[in-house]
Symmetry: C2
Subunit: 490 residues, 2 copies
């Protein structure tokens, strides 16, 4: 295990915070709650972006860009949405600074530059976008509109944690407009499925899916579909949401279209997003006591080579020895690099690449050249073996697939082992205390939900679509249509 990294079993939260810093992913900035995403962390985010962006485009979506600011009068138009975000809004009130006569060299806000109307830094873009769609939509011919934007948003959070909850974060937000309710519902579900597929198969993070309860759904939505992942400390993490917005925004912004018969109808809407929070899910799903563990799909560097040498001549010999194999590996599209830094010792390099989660580490010294061998280390299982260098490419190809697969399987097994069904509130309380998902019957009332939350800190993470065995609520004894997933959450 890595030097100086707290063990997960000692203090999971501390382990997370240390890992984010030590793996060089992100750090806090001098702006309250805002993070600096460091190059290594950003390179992983770029891999997430690239893959998701391709999936959005494949399913007919286009990117666009809408303003950072939302005038207050637009912001408040959809009341539930406004209410949901009002308490965490950064507000721009002035547009100029001037010299502070009392403090030479310092600046102060120029009171003469007060804005007639305050601008809200977008916490989400439904308001500004629907105000724009109003101009774009007249007829059924203008529909559907299937747009996405990659952007920064600001929610003034009181307690922040790198990636998991920051005042500014990066995300994508899709905003679509449709002729019919069914079409919009289909879109919201399609995207939730796309998120599920991406997070499971690309990030190797298994999720449960379903809808949110009324109290947990997006402010302004009729229905929120979601994917929820389970972290190693037994807490759930909401990894993505896709909202069926009904006609709420169309009504708030008066967006109607003429159908084929010339009748005016309100437009149906969806919105959906995932954010840099996925980085938190990634770290907490796969990380171990030695640091970050990256699925090969997300690793900015998939294979690192640490040469063991004393002289420059030895280093050059090692490079000559490796060259043909490295070329083959590169040709196959893998990223590989020789860490030939002179001012760091092999042990230091091993530790650094371990904590940064590089999936495969190769080590080569003089004796390997003599023996035609190479040491191969896989980060996920912390296993190393010596192989004949002739087999290197085959071995790499196997490991890239196998690490991706095993990480998913391991996380799936963890989720399965930590998902329990209960029939009564006593068992519920015992299990929820241990962590994990607990499936239990719920009568569908906000009252029951709140009582459980107050007494156990657990919330309904999602209402699954499939499970449909009726029963009785563990609290009220009333009729329940299906069991729902509870957990404590991030």
């Amino acid at each position: 295990m890595s030097k100086n990294l707290t063990k997960r079993s000692e203090d999971y939260s501390k382990w997370y915070n240390e890992l984010v810093l030590k793996a060089d992913l992100a750090e806090n900035s001098s702006v309250r709650g805002c993070m600096v995403i460091k190059p290594y962390g950003y390179a992983i985010w770029e891999k997430i972006q690239k893959e998701l962006d391709a999936k959005f485009k494949e399913t007919g979506h286009y990117n666009a860009y809408f303003p950072l600011f939302v005038p207050k009068s637009l912001f408040e138009a959809e009341e539930k949405n406004a209410e949901g975000f009002a308490k965490e809004c950064a507000v721009v009130t002035h547009y100029r600074l001037k010299n502070d006569e009392k403090n030479p060299g310092k600046l102060k806000v120029d009171e003469n530059s007060k804005l007639d109307e305050e601008l809200i830094v977008r916490p989400t873009s439904e308001a500004i976008i629907w105000n724009t769609y109003k101009k774009w939509i007249q007829s059924y011919r203008d529909l559907p509109i299937l747009l996405n934007q990659w952007a920064n948003v600001v929610r003034w959070e009181m307690r922040t944690r790198l990636f998991l909850r920051t005042s500014e974060f990066l995300w994508q937000e899709g905003h679509t407009a449709h002729e019919t309710k069914n079409e919009a519902l289909h879109e919201a579900k399609l995207i939730n499925k796309l998120y599920e597929d991406f997070v499971t198969n690309f990030m190797a993070i298994p999720v449960i899916t379903g809808t949110k309860s009324d109290s947990e759904k997006f402010a302004g939505a009729e229905e929120t579909y979601c994917i929820e992942a389970l972290m190693q400390d037994g807490k759930a993490l909401q990894a993505g949401t896709s909202h069926f917005l009904g006609q709420n925004f169309a009504k708030a912004f008066d967006v109607k279209y003429a159908d084929k018969n010339g009748n005016l109808e309100y437009v149906w809407a969806t919105s959906w997003g995932v954010s840099t929070r996925l980085m938190g899910a990634l770290i907490m799903t796969h990380g171990d006591d030695s640091g970050l563990v990256l699925p090969p799909n997300l690793a900015p560097l998939q294979i690192v080579v640490v040469p063991i040498f004393k002289t420059e001549l030895e280093l050059n010999n090692i490079k000559d020895y490796l060259k043909p194999y490295i070329n083959l590996i590169k040709e196959k599209g893998y990223t590989i690099k020789i860490d030939d830094r002179l001012n760091f010792k092999p042990g230091y390099k091993f530790n650094e690449h371990e904590i940064k989660g590089v999936p495969i580490r190769l080590a080569v010294g003089n004796r390997d050249i003599e023996n035609n061998s190479i040491e191969v280390f896989r980060r996920d299982l912390l296993l190393k073996e010596n192989i004949n260098i002739e087999n290197l490419l085959d071995n790499i190809e196997f490991l890239i697939r196998d690490i991706q697969e095993k990480l998913l399987n391991k996380a799936k097994a963890f989720q399965l082992n930590n998902t329990k069904e209960v029939e009564n509130y006593n068992d519920f309380k015992k299990l929820i205390e241990k962590g994990g998902f607990v499936l239990a019957h719920w009568d569908g009332s906000e009252e029951t939900e709140l009582k459980i939350k107050n007494e156990t800190k657990a919330t309904i993470r999602c209402i699954p679509e499939s499970n449909s065995k009726t029963g009785t609520c563990i609290i009220s004894g009333k009729k329940s249509l299906k069991k729902v997933y509870f957990a404590k959450s991030y």
Copy 2:
């Protein structure tokens, strides 16, 4: 020429504004000075981003992300930089809204949420980044730092125009830190060269390059390298800048490194950027009275096919006829689409693709099938010809290269024809009135520069590196080391 588009010769400025809207590139939003970049415009911006990003990475740069907000105390640390941007800063002063009791359903700023220190929405990120670099840099081993970020920035402009000058715009900003002055100078020049190469060879926009005069350089820079393009109305447009920042930010933020001997030295810096303004350069360099003209490198859709049909059977016949050729074209990596919309007539489609600048348009009707032919239209020259469909792929490959090349050559010829040298102020005034670059001797004083600006509205666009014939200033008659480029500008 396109219906309803003002001619360039009638009103160039009106032509530009109309084109941006009619080609579906962008539009004004309900937020003063902020634009909505529409999907078609954004798709072009994505092509710019992708190519530039690859070039930055090839030259050893990494992406990262820094906060949107800059606390006022950091913002004012580098005095010249602060002074340069103070008058156009959006300022966040509060972090919460509350219900407005007097207006049910409305919100107002919660006065209890006033920030202790105001936050500036970044107009540029030197301050927040150098405050971060202070933590990252201790020793020469930590250098160089070669980072870039893709981000939105806000400069509260009084007069705005889509893409050319907007209160919020998208850009990339590179920020590098170096051990030595020479290394930083080399970096600043390298990036200016990279910009020149990209804008010339990828965007087909020729530029002149050099440094800015003191009055035109970036606030906080020691030297600003720039690329300047010439628009069809004879005005110059600053297309990119790369700044050698000396040790100004290192001193303002106290960033020192220990060199190999253990001596503490201030770090040397550069910063550099291009923005969505490049979209304006693109439109104004290549556009004509029929609309946008896109170099194939930047066209989201390179080839569009307009089928001429009356019945669905005819449409299907046309599709069958085209299929093998379209597959070949796609295999070569070109983007091609059949515009098979049923509710639009061919004439409407021709006009739409013309105004959107699609480089190549193909048209196919029944008679073409009989004759084994296809109509090929090239947007740049507005020329069409009928060819044997067997030659389609060869023809496309030729046109893609030829259009890209001819657009550059045409723009180069325009720039050459509109760049004149003068020896006295009378000739200067006559030529500058006509537009274009005017090369003239200048004594290097701010006084002379200001006099010329006041009397002619022309500014020094750049001081070329190479030209080094001495002479006498056209205003003062004092000694001048070289002729410099003057022009009126955007």
